[in-house]
Symmetry: C2
């Protein structure tokens, strides 16, 4: 239900279109979840059925394609409050798909393994630099989310450094 929590939380700040909700998540919360546009609409539909949010056609200025505006109901607010507390109080699972490769490191000779991991190190560095450079632009992004993400990338760099030195000794 994390993605529902996210959509509810954003709608709580004001009525919005599916398009904008997805766009915001994609721009500023990409480190939290991977939510495609079609999935966003799917989830919104489901929440309408559950009565957590309402949908009305927006035929105000029709320069734009016809669109629906979503808004939170009271049931939705209650669901948000519940989901928020659950999310904060528990440890949410995190999956390191990059560790799958590490499980098979012994397949490669040490030199190539190091070379590949150095490429990964480079990729992490670039990611971090990019985040730092664009940090001011990301005022829309919730502060803690961005900071946690950047610290995590730093953690990954130190882990990789450590791993690389240990692989040298082999």
């Amino acid at each position: 239900m994390e993605r529902e929590l996210l959509l509810l939380g954003l709608l709580r700040r004001g009525d919005n279109y599916g398009y904008h909700l997805h766009d915001f998540i994609n721009k500023y919360m990409a480190s939290c979840t991977n939510l495609k546009k079609a999935t966003a609409y799917y989830l919104l539909d489901k929440m309408v059925e559950r009565g957590w949010i309402e949908q009305k056609d927006d035929d105000s200025d029709s320069n734009y394609p016809p669109r629906r505006i979503y808004s939170l109901t009271e049931a939705g607010e209650a669901a948000f409050q519940k989901l928020l507390r659950e999310n904060l109080s528990q440890l949410q699972p995190v999956y390191f798909t990059g560790d799958i490769g590490l499980a098979f490191l012994d397949v490669l000779d040490a030199a190539e393994a190091r070379a590949l991991l150095q490429q990964r190190y480079q990729a992490v560095t670039e990611r971090l630099n990019h985040l730092e450079a664009n940090a001011p632009k990301h005022e829309g992004a919730p502060q803690w989310v961005l900071e946690h993400h950047m610290r995590f990338l730093q953690f990954e760099l130190s882990w990789l450094t450590d791993l690389l030195t240990r692989l040298e000794g082999v």
Copy 2:
């Protein structure tokens, strides 16, 4: 394709049943990916179609329910080699669904926010203790995977500690 890489890598160590492959992943690689049994069979089927692996009925000792044994083909070995290098050289995305709650921390009063995050801290600690306690039992687990996971949990603890002290100042 990370899950395919994982299945291929395990099959590379020896022919195996779908059941065992899933079981191993669930026990020792749960931090890398979330792979349900039915999904494992689905992926195995697809890889058979692609010619990466072969399936033969195992009617050897029929005490057990009928079962199929999977084995790597040459095409599968080639795919494994390619996927392994891709996985190691790139930065694989990691999603922090726990950060969604952080984005809405301002909804709660500071005291409750701290209390909830302290519960999360407790949950992380328990997770870490559990891993440490069972570490010897996890000889099957690839060394780096386990170590990365434990270090990550320690990182999370320090992040939470820092966050909590900063929330006190509010």
